[in-house]
Amino acid sequence: MSPLSGYLLLSALLFSIGLAGALTRRNAILVLIGIELMLNAANLNFIAFWRYGPNPAALTGVMFTIFSISVAAAEAAVGLSIILAVYRHSKSINLDAMNSMKG
């Protein structure tokens, strides 16, 4: 097993853990955290491919990760403030309670 596939497997595992969390938990904050985890798994992929890729001098993977981290930070900020707004509205952040858009 090459080192790259080890990192890829780890990243796939992290992704699945994040996905499992996002699918099974009812608390909106935890779902958001699960999504963050999936994003981070993707970051690990970028870095691993940059490290073992054919042209590490191009820095593309590193750049992608830096931008992805900033986007994730923005996402976390906006997501958590949406959760706060929802909580103020319905006094709960249980995802089951957020079904007023249900058809």
């Binding site: 080192p3 976390a76 403030s81």
Partner: protein, 166 residues
């Protein structure tokens, strides 16, 4: 495939798995922090020093604190009593497991075509800065705009409505 990789990977997996499965939300966030620190260590191991430290700074210093604040403000620090039904949880775990299985299959079947081990690339912060300011300056600006918009948007969203109308 060094011993340090396995240790750090174990830390990461334990941290993230705990973050997704513990009952108490604060514990979840704390173990998430552990997992993300492990991820940052993996970045260091891969030679991406700048990204690793940025990861710690952003996730431990900002996102985790933000999540903790959100937990405190939504009063969800106490363990939840009304857990979703077991079938719901089981289906989610099953789907996640399937995803992992498929991805692992994909990775293992692609192992032959993956590039073999190369030497550790030397990347200094200076190079990253130069690349950010020249080659990637447009994405940088866009990220700046995005962060500003997110900042303003988050502030407006989180603003108390009664306070805002003052």
């Amino acid at each position: 495939m060094t011993i340090s990789f396995f240790i750090i990977a174990a830390i990461t997996i334990v941290g993230t798995a705990a973050a997704m499965s513990l009952k108490n939300l604060v514990h979840c966030v704390l173990s998430l922090t552990l997992g993300l620190v492990g991820l940052a260590l993996l970045f260091l191991l891969l030679g991406a020093q700048f990204v690793g430290f940025t990861q710690i700074l952003v996730y431990v210093g900002a996102v985790a604190i933000l999540a903790v604040f959100a937990i405190m403000m939504t009063r969800s620090a106490e363990p939840m009593t009304n857990l979703p039904p077991a079938s719901f949880r089981l289906s989610g775990v099953l789907i996640a497991a399937t995803v992992f299985a498929v991805l692992a299959w994909a990775i293992s079947s692609a192992t032959r075509s993956l590039p073999s081990q190369s030497s550790q690339p030397e990347v200094s912060v200076n190079q990253i800065g130069v690349a950010l300011m020249h080659q990637f300056v447009l994405p940088l600006e866009v990220i700046g705009v995005l962060l500003t918009a997110a900042l303003v948007g988050a502030a407006i969203l989180a603003m108390d409505e009664t306070g805002a109308s003052r």
